[in-house]
């Protein structure tokens, strides 16, 4: 009995970040009716505190209570904990950046914060799942929350379109994922990620090849997950959804779910299907090249900054896939570091766009950024930093992420990777054009006289400061975070 209680306790402990997030989400909903409409900002702060508090149990588990929970359904290893910190940190950043936006739009409501917390909880499960159906539940939890969030500007047709599109195509993709799970179960008799690995290796040893059904299952799962991380050729919906969703929600959509889904992809591809690396290598290679070219070339011709950043996030998924293709511990390390860097700069950039959009998100064109450097020097400097980091300029997080990705890909001295990396390098130069164009507008163009953006409120200032400081920190002193990423990658592959 005692051991059972101890096990229960350990289970709860290992799921504590998600429990915290859900509890605070529910708390926000309960408090909501008792708060006067004009005081609803309080709910945002409550959500923010909830997110911050959820990081601590994650760190606590990292220090003393790693292991499997609930009969091997959840695996809280260093990998999962690294992703938890990234995801929950992003959620906290987005909540902080949303407070003033929602005030401005007249949308200040408790549900918003509750949904962000539920989405974060879903993503946490996604990152920690050791079982495919559990992963599916996490995926649904985060997806459904974000479907609603994407349509949060109820009176805006674009927002409704985004929500509906995201919902319809998202459900379609989820179905693919579910089919994939079923096939894998059929082929191996289990849905547990590490057991699938063992079953496939046995099959390989016994028959000399992998069961075709399992490969088919992997392909279907890849379609579903590729949709969620928005890589080409599954990217079509991405820019529309990102553009239509309220901008702080876009900040969340473009960063945290991508990170969480990549985490699950790593688990499935590297652990379960590690023995099938030969099969999936070319799929990843082609998707990486397509994503980089489609993302960058389409971003070149955008005049709407929000949409441009949406395409740029497709390109970045491509760079991440370059590291992903490496299929080594180093590859995972690079992916994890890239994700940490990416969420900071991308969320930061979208939060700036959210502020400059002003009421009704009318100011999203590049002309609206003209002369921002003289109107709001600090904000412009901050945005420039995010742009330069996305571009991959040294001394920023983005550069180091890209550098590690290249290094991981070339690590095996495999000629297949040389072209991939050269293509990535050329794409970085294509990307430079449109990131720099935003800086051109902010500093080189004559200020737009009839448009004076509002001052940046303290909460948003804090959020931007954290994102900017993090971008610089990861760019100049990456050793510490890199160490965590390495430990996380080790925990996944070296048992």
């Amino acid at each position: 009995m005692i051991s059972l209680a101890a096990e229960q306790h350990a289970n709860l402990h290992r799921l504590a970040p998600e429990l915290h997030l859900c509890l605070f989400g529910i708390l926000v909903m309960i408090v909501d009716p008792f708060v006067r409409p004009q005081n609803r900002r309080v709910l945002g702060w409550l959500g923010f505190i909830g997110a911050i508090l959820a990081i601590f149990p994650a760190i606590h588990v990292a220090m003393e209570n790693r292991g499997m929970a609930y009969n091997n359904l959840i695996n809280t290893d260093s990998f999962s904990i690294f992703m938890h910190v990234v995801i929950i940190g992003t959620a906290a950043l987005v909540i902080l950046g949303s407070l003033d936006y929602l005030d401005g739009e007249g949308l200040q409501r408790g549900e918003y914060y509750a949904l962000v917390l539920f989405a974060a909880a879903g993503m946490g499960i996604l990152a920690g799942a050791n079982e495919l159906v559990t992963a599916f539940i996490g995926l649904e939890m985060s997806s459904i929350s974000t479907y609603v969030l994407a349509g949060f500007r109820r009176r805006s047709p674009a927002s409704n379109e985004a929500s509906l599109k995201y919902f319809l195509l998202g459900s379609f993709a989820t179905a693919f994922f579910l089919y994939g799970i079923a096939m894998v179960y059929g082929a191996t008799g289990t849905t547990q990620i590490d057991r699938v690995q063992a079953a496939l290796e046995d099959a390989l040893n016994a028959q000399g090849h992998l069961p075709p059904l399992a490969i088919l299952g992997l392909g279907l799962m890849f379609v579903g997950l590729g949709f969620k991380v928005v890589v080409a050729p599954f990217q079509i919906y991405g820019p529309d959804v990102y553009e239509g969703a309220p901008t702080p929600v876009t900040a969340l959509l473009a960063s945290a779910p991508k990170a969480a889904t990549f985490a699950l992809m790593i688990r499935i591809f590297y652990v379960s299907f590690g023995s099938a690396a030969g099969f999936w290598f070319w799929a990843i290679w082609i998707c990486a090249v397509l994503s980089m070219f489609i993302g960058n070339l389409a971003a070149l011709v955008q005049t709407n900054v929000k949409r441009m950043l949406a395409y740029s996030s497709i390109a970045h998924a491509g760079y991440i896939l370059v590291a992903f293709a490496a299929s080594t511990v180093f590859g995972i390390t690079a992916v994890l570091f890239y994700l940490a860097a990416y969420v900071l700069m991308k969320a930061g950039a979208f939060l700036v766009v959210a502020h400059l959009g002003q009421k009704g998100e009318k100011r999203l064109e590049i002309q609206d950024y003209a002369g921002l450097g003289s109107k709001q020097p600090v904000l412009a400097a901050c945005f420039s930093l995010f742009m330069l980091s996305l571009l991959g300029l040294p001394a920023t997080a983005g550069f180091l992420g890209k550098f590690l990705a290249f290094q991981a890909a070339l690590d095996g001295r495999d000629p297949r990777f040389v072209w991939l990396v050269v293509i990535a390098a050329i794409n970085s130069v294509i990307g430079a054009y449109y990131y720099l164009r935003v800086i051109v507008a902010m500093y080189f163009w004559k200020p737009n006289k009839d448009y004076v953006p509002a001052k940046v409120a303290p909460a948003l200032t804090a959020a931007l400061f954290v994102a900017a400081a993090g971008t610089l920190y990861l760019g100049i002193f990456p050793a510490r975070v890199l160490g965590f990423a390495k430990a996380a990658a080790d925990s996944l592959l070296l048992r």
Binding site: L393, P394, F406, Q407, R413, A479
Partner: protein
């Protein structure tokens, strides 16, 4: 070395410290910003001279070395100078105060941002010259881009945005491929530390297949050749120069282009000698085309600044030729010519900038007979032109002469073609001078132009003195370069290619590596 353990770090980051001081000033305090920027850059120059004082000309290894772990096991904060980089650092710290001084009046808007950009460039450029870790070098190499992008894009002339973007995209294309090559090299050698990689290549511990070597050489060379710029990759240069403000042109031509030639000499040639030898004839042909083509195009320019920009294509072609002639004399000449070009072309741009401040145009036909209203400025202009066309006793002569005789030793035809460049430089510079300064005043407005002000005289006199000093006292410079130049040639030797035992190069490099290990 032991006495000033962090001197290089101080020299590199001192300008950045003054940026912090500038940030604290209010945006309207233009006067104080100029004063602080000037004082900071002069202090930086003074500190950098300590390097010359402490420099031991007989020492073949890097001096003032600093070595700290930075990221992981492979990436280090590794600084050091030798006879090649020493004077390029001094050139940078020497030109920056002049660039600040020449912007005293001409920059009236966004003063703060302008001086901050200049000082950040100074840090990045010095960082490039003193980095001995490929990763660190790349970081500084890329960091030079963005401030220069702002200087051209914000304070430039009419087509500034086009020119600034073109400049960045060209350079970035080369540097991204170089990044791939750096990572590839790391995978082969297991480190980013430049002396260590070189030591491994020299001792034969790491062997490059000829094809790999050629590809790596190509990636490095492309990045640097764009920066030089070598024909046919030069097209960004006239635009960038014509549109940049004077200070931007001075730094761009004076120092930034040297990153290309320095990179070729420091990295391309010693790391990949086999490929360098194989490609030398082709590169020499491009360099010679650059020399002649640059000179011819300069001759027909009607825009004075564009003319000066094309002289860079021509002069730096000569430097590249000197490097790829692979003789001690020609390489020494190439290094010296890098400094000369920095001083002479910097001075030319400063003088052209002074004309622009008066008339707000670079069109040669808008000038004419300027020697009448401003004799002092025009005398100095002539002096600078003569330095640039390599008149004996002035600085340009020494460098060109060394390159030509060094090249002539093995390649008569190359030297013959290159000499035509020297002749043509007399044509375009003297003809331009004649049209600008001599004869009757052709445009009425020019009659009343003021002669050089005190500030401008300070700039011009400083430049003239340095030009003369470098022409007469060249042994002071070349003696400090000699050991390092020989070192480059030693570094190019590889065990399998040398018939005699490769004791000399191997031991030097290995001793250096061991020495550093002991120091840790």
């Amino acid at each position: 070395m032991g006495t000033q353990p962090h001197l290089l770090t101080v020299v590199t980051f001192l300008p950045l410290l003054s940026v912090a001081a500038l940030l604290l000033l209010r945006a309207e305090d233009h006067v104080w910003m100029r004063r602080i920027a000037l004082a900071a850059s002069l202090a930086e120059f003074a500190v950098s001279l300590l390097l010359v004082r402490g420099f031991d000309a007989a020492e073949p290894r890097y001096q003032f070395e600093e070595f700290h772990p930075w990221i992981g096991q492979a990436i280090h904060y590794h600084l050091g100078v030798d006879g090649i980089s020493l004077f390029l650092v001094i050139l940078t710290t020497f030109l920056t105060p002049l660039a600040i001084l020449c912007s005293w009046q001409s920059i009236q808007e966004g003063v703060k941002g302008f001086f901050i950009s200049l000082l950040v460039i100074e840090t990045a450029l010095i960082g490039c010259f003193v980095s001995l870790d490929l990763f660190l070098f790349f970081v500084f190499f890329e960091l030079t881009l963005i401030p220069m992008y702002f200087i051209i894009g914000i304070w430039g002339h009419d087509r500034r945005i086009y020119a600034a973007l073109k400049f960045v995209l060209y350079t970035m294309l080369g540097s991204m491929l170089m990044l791939v090559a750096i990572v590839w090299l790391y995978n082969i050698a297991g480190t980013f530390d430049y002396p260590e990689i070189l030591g491994k290549l020299q001792s034969g511990a790491v062997l490059l297949a000829p094809r790999t070597e050629l590809l790596l050489f190509g990636a490095f060379f492309l990045a640097f050749a764009i920066k030089v710029p070598l024909f046919p990759l030069h097209t960004w240069l006239p635009d960038a120069h014509t549109e940049a403000p004077t200070a931007g042109s001075v730094i761009l031509a004076g120092v930034m282009l040297k990153l290309g030639t320095y990179g070729i000499l420091r990295f391309c040639v010693p790391l990949f000698p086999g490929a360098a030898h194989r490609m030398a004839p082709a590169i020499a042909v491009l360099a010679i085309i650059g020399i002649v083509y640059g000179a011819l195009v300069a001759t027909v320019q009607h825009d004075l600044k564009r003319l000066v920009a094309y002289t860079s294509v021509s002069h730096l072609g000569l430097v590249v030729l000197g490097i790829f002639a692979f003789s001690t004399v020609s390489i020494q000449g190439a290094i010296y010519q890098m400094l000369n070009h920095g001083v002479s072309t910097g001075a030319l741009f400063l003088a052209v900038g002074m004309l622009y401040d008066r008339r707000h145009t670079h069109e040669i036909k808008e000038f004419g007979g300027l020697a009448t209203p401003m004799p002092v400025l025009m005398s100095f202009f002539l002096f600078i032109c003569l330095s640039s066309l390599a008149l004996p006793l002035l600085n340009g002569f020494v460098g060109e002469f060394l390159i030509l005789i060094g090249t002539f030793e093995h390649h008569h035809a190359w030297a013959a073609w290159a000499t035509s460049g020297a002749v043509l430089s007399a044509v375009y510079l003297l003809w331009a001078y004649q049209r600008v300064a001599l004869g009757e005043v052709t445009v009425e407005k020019n009659r009343a132009l003021p002669d050089a002000s005190t500030r401008e005289r300070v700039i011009l006199v400083t430049m003239a003195l340095v030009i003369l000093f470098m022409g007469i006292a060249s042994p002071l410079f070349t003696s400090r370069m000699e050991v390092s130049t020989n070192n480059i040639l030693l570094q190019m030797q590889r065990p399998q290619s040398a018939s005699r035992p490769a004791a000399a190069p191997g031991t030097v490099a290995e001793a250096a590596v061991k020495e550093r290990r002991v120091q840790q």
